[in-house]
Each structure stands twice: as C-alpha cells, then as structure tokens.
C-alpha cells in the first residue's frame, strides 16, 4: 500500500500550531532564512524550475506567476503585494483549513519566501468568514511572527520588510476566484473583473500582486530548503510534488491525505481504508462541484493535472467524493447544479439565467424515464458551453465540467 508523503502537512499533529517555537524547532523559517541569503532572482528560478503548479484548482505554474509579478513595472508608490487565497469553498475541499488550523506558520513562511522573491512589502491573507478556527490561529501565528522578528521592518537584519494582515470573506464562493477575491479585499462586492490584466500586473489596488492558494505557499519552504530537483523527483512529469487530497463519502476513513502526484484513485481509496463496509465503487467526483464525475475506469489513472485531463477528468482542488452504488447520481448532480445557481453573482446574464435553467433542465431529465433523455443531456451541454464562452469568471464556465463528465462516463445511467 502507498504511504503519505508529507511536505505541506509535515508538521501537522506533531507540533502545537500556536507555538512558533515548536515550528522553529521543527526546522521552520530555515528555508526563508536561506532565501534571504540568496538573490531574489535565484529564489524565483528555484520556484520556477520546481514545476510547482497552483494547488487551488487551476494548476497554473506557480513559478511563472512569481516571475510575471517580478517583471511587472513597479508603480510610483513602489508597492507590490503578495496575497494568500484562503477562501476555501470548493465543495468537498478542506485542505487549506487543515494547514491553517494545524500549522499556520508554514503558510506564512511560504508567503515570506514569495514576497522576498518579488520584493513585495505588503501582503494579505484572505480567509473565508466561516473558518473561525483558521482565522484565530492565523492571527495568532502572525502575531508570533512579528514578535520573533519574522515579519515587520528589516527582517532578521536584512533590508527586507514585510507586513501581513488577515482579511475576512463573508460567505461567497465566487470570492475564491482570484480576481473576485481582490475585489472583495478592496471592500467591494465580489463581482469578477475582466481579465487581462492579470493580478501580476494589476492586482489588489491595481498594483502588481502575487496571489496563491494556501497549499501552494505551504509547499514553497520545502522547495527552497530541499531544492527544485528533489521536488521534481516526486509526482508526475507535468505535475511534480505532492498534493493533499480530501476524500469523503462512502469510504472507511474519510479525511485528508498528502500523497505524491500521480497516485491513483484506487490507491487513495485504499489509503483511506477502502470502500465503506466493503461496498462496490460506483462513482467519484474529482475536484469539487466544478469537478468531474468518473466511473471505475478511472480508478487506475495517475492523478495529476494533465493525466486526468486526458481522460476528461479534473484534479481541481483535490476534493474526492466517493459514492457507492446506493447513491443517486441524479441527486448528486442536482445538488451541484443548485450550488451554482445559488452562487452565481448575477453579473453576467448567461450565468445568472443559465445556472437556474440548468437546474430546471435537470429536473426535466429526471422526469423523462425513457427515450429522449440523451437529447436533453445534449441540450444541457450546449447551454453550459454557451455559459462558459460568455461569462467573465470561471463560475459560468463551471457547470459544463460536471455535466460533460456525467455524459461521458454515465450516459447510460441517466
């Protein structure tokens, strides 16, 4: 059986999350101090050559983001920002919460490394308002870091300074999308921005901004201390390193597991104790609501961004929801479509109207017991594709993902 490979979760369970001394004793901040002795350009190339890809779901090369933000012209006030996206809301996902609740300092260290690389002076950690425990722990970890001289002015005798602040969301899935998050951070409604410009050039307050997910930042200290080659030695060619999967549903030991990229769904389920009560595997949803339904044919596909894409599936945020044969795929799809209808912000008409339309079309599919159900599914695909093409942000483009996969893998079941 495969084992966990803990990088971003390496201290979880073994240290007191609120104690910076514990974190330091476990080797914490050594990577940042190593980075501090290097040229920022060196840090950037290390992150870039590691092949690290964004762990929030998009999978964009994290090193390239760092490079773009570094290359962006410094505005008149000289400000560049680093922002941590801790607005975890993708259904089935709770990896960022685990990091923040069990080892908040590791995320801060990752942000320090990234901020040093782009010479940012200011940063924010945007945490969803419902994550009360995360908020409290991150606030305490920030205070600890200031007290120990890891944040503030002239950090550890260098001329590098960084201030970090916590900002809170207030119940909006959409704000997990990076440009919408920046709007919210500025104290506005969470409406998506038109891109380009991308955050690297015009982010928070329209200043160059490096924005990454909690898990992405939490991987950076290891990459700096162990080197990009060591990171690339794990995982798949195009998705190096480790990934935290949060697996739930009909399995024996639901929870969070950090494994190397390329681990198969079968191996992951086995690691999580196997199917509950020895039931058969019917389906899994990979990547959350904006994820894909897959059947048993995907059990042995290595899970990486590209390898899953090749079979019409997604890695997304690493959420895995497992269903045994007693579960209704209809109900699952209905709840996913309800979710999008509820979370659509209403700015783009195709998404506002389309998300509700899909909910109703799905009811229609369900009522047609025989015959032209396939036709209805095709119509839904068409509507969802149109939404994807005509919406500003990824939410409008999300319903097509589960719908297409359901048609691909379960056409005969509906």
């Amino acid at each position: 059986m495969i084992q966990q490979t803990k990088i971003s979760l390496r201290n979880t369970g073994s240290i007191d999350p609120l104690s910076i001394d514990d974190y330091i004793a476990a080797g914490g901040f050594q990577a940042f101090e190593k980075a501090l002795r290097q040229d920022p350009g060196q840090v950037i190339s290390e992150l870039e050559s590691s092949g690290l890809r964004g762990r929030g779901g998009g999978g964009f090369p994290a090193g390239m983001k760092v490079k773009f933000t570094d290359k962006a012209d410094r505005p008149f006030d000289g400000m560049k920002y680093v922002v941590c996206n801790a607005d975890e809301g993708e259904p089935g996902t709770y990896k960022d919460r685990v990091i923040m609740e069990q080892d908040p300092h590791i995320m801060i260290e990752g942000m320090l490394i990234a901020a040093y690389a782009i010479q940012a002076q200011k940063g924010y950690i945007y945490i969803r308002g419902e994550y009360i425990d995360s908020i409290r722990k991150v606030e305490q970890a920030l205070k600890n870091s200031y007290d120990k001289g890891y944040l503030g002015k002239d950090i550890k005798g260098s001329d590098f300074s960084l201030d970090l602040e916590v900002r809170l969301g207030a119940g909006s899935y959409l704000c997990g999308e990076e440009l919408t998050l920046l709007e919210s951070l500025e104290g506005k409604r969470g409406y998506p921005r038109i891109k380009p410009p991308f955050p690297a050039n015009e982010g928070v307050f329209r200043k160059p901004t490096l924005i990454n997910n909690v898990e992405t930042f939490a991987l950076m200290p290891w990459i700096i201390s162990e080197g990009s080659e060591a990171f690339k030695a794990m995982g798949t060619e195009k998705s190096p390193g480790t990934k935290i999967f949060t697996i739930s549903g009909d399995i024996e030991k639901p929870g969070y597991y950090e494994v190397v990229m390329g681990t198969t769904l079968r191996e992951l389920i086995e690691l999580a104790g196997g199917m509950k009560d020895g039931a058969d595997f019917q389906a899994a949803i990979l990547g959350g609501a904006a994820g894909t339904f897959v059947n048993a044919s995907v059990l042995d596909t290595p899970m990486g961004f590209d390898t899953l894409k090749e079979v019409g599936a997604t890695l997304g945020s690493g959420a895995v929801m497992v269903m045994d044969p007693s579960r209704s795929l209809y109900d699952m799809m209905a709840s996913i479509l309800d979710f999008f209808a509820h979370e659509s912000c209403g700015k783009c008409v195709p998404c506002r109207v389309g998300t509700t339309l899909l909910v109703n079309m799905w009811k229609d599919v369900r009522q047609r017991r025989n015959g032209n159900r396939t036709e209805m599914l095709e119509k839904m695909e068409e509507e969802a594709e149109y939404m994807q093409e005509t919406s500003l942000c990824p939410l409008g483009g999300s319903p097509i993902i589960p719908i297409r996969s359901a048609v691909q893998y379960f056409k005969n079941e509906f």
């Binding site: 975890e88 809301g89 993708e90 259904p91 089935g92 996902t93 709770y94 919460r97 308002g129 419902e130 994550y131 009360i132 900002r167 809170l168 969301g169 207030a170 119940g171 909006s172 899935y173 919210s184 951070l185 500025e186 104290g187 506005k188 409604r189 969470g190 307050f205 949060t246 697996i247 739930s248 549903g249 639901p254 929870g255 969070y256 949803i285 609501a289 959420a319 929801m321 269903m323 579960r327 109900d331 699952m332 709840s335 996913i336 309800d338 979710f339 509820h342 979370e343 912000c345």
Partner: protein, 158 residues
C-alpha cells in the same frame, strides 16, 4: 460597543469595510446590520450608503434582518446532502418549529443555509455561531438544541 466606537478601531479605508461590518454585526443584539449602521459606515468611509448597502446585501454572512442569538448555518453542500443532510434538516426545522431562513419567536435561533463548510469527512455538519457540529443525526440535533436552550434558561434565571 457602539458602531462609532467600532469604526474608530479601523482606518477610514474602503478595504477595511468587511472587517468593520463583521464586527458591527457581532456586537448588535440582533446579529444584524441596521440601516443606521450602513449610514455610519458610509460616512466614515466617505462613500455612499448605497455602495455599503450593496456590499452588505451581496455577502451571505451579513444580514439586515434581526436574527436570533444563535445563528445556525446548515451545510447543504453536495456531500452533506448525499449523506442525508436534508432529512436531518427536516427534524431540525421540526425541533425549532421554523423553516430554513426563519427565526424562532423567542429570538433564540435563526436557521440559515450554508455552502460547504469544509468538514466533509464528518458530514452532515452545521455551525451554531462559532461552533461546528459534526456527524449530525436526529438524536444529536436534539441534544445540541436542548443543551443551548437549557443553558440560556439558566442564564435568564441567574
């Protein structure tokens, strides 16, 4: 703490608005944000009431309607629904004699829907103010609710 006192803790910058609104709401006895609060925030930030109102109404954690002392956020995400959240919800509605979105007549509980709360390994889940409750079923719900009721009754008597 009055709204003015809360506001003065923050810099008069727009990007502080969500933090202010969270704190104002927390201090109001009705767990809500009133039109008077909105005017004061707008004045403090030198912006229009309409723009503050737009923010308050956009985010689901903010409420203008007065709410109960205990706000229940009931997770209705796909995974919670899969393991029976809606059945649990029915018994919760029965226990409180209200429907989703309503407040009990004694102003003790408000029942709100919530998207994924990020505890899917222990589904179904709900939050009651700052506290998360896991593995919900009918018996567990009754226990949670009656515990809160008793505790409130004791507070009133003492």
């Amino acid at each position: 703490m009055s709204t003015q006192e809360i506001l003065r803790k923050y810099l008069p910058q727009r990007d502080q608005m969500l933090l202010m609104l969270h704190e104002i709401q927390q201090h109001n006895p009705g767990n809500n944000i009133t039109p008077a609060d909105i005017r004061q925030v707008a004045e403090y930030l030198n912006t229009t009431s309409a723009s503050v109102y737009g923010v308050v109404r956009y985010y689901s954690m903010f409420s203008m309607a007065p709410r109960g002392k205990f706000v229940i956020r009931f997770c209705k995400s796909p995974l919670c629904r899969m393991v029976g959240a809606f059945n649990v919800l029915k018994s919760l509605e029965k226990e409180l004699s209200i429907h989703m979105g309503e407040t009990t007549s004694d102003m003790l509980f408000t029942l709100e829907p919530s998207e994924c709360l990020g505890h899917c390994d222990k589904a179904p889940v709900m939050m009651v103010n700052d506290q998360v409750y896991f593995h919900l079923d009918e018996a567990r719900l009754q226990e949670i609710i009656s515990q809160i009721r008793e505790q409130e009754l004791k507070k009133q008597q003492s």
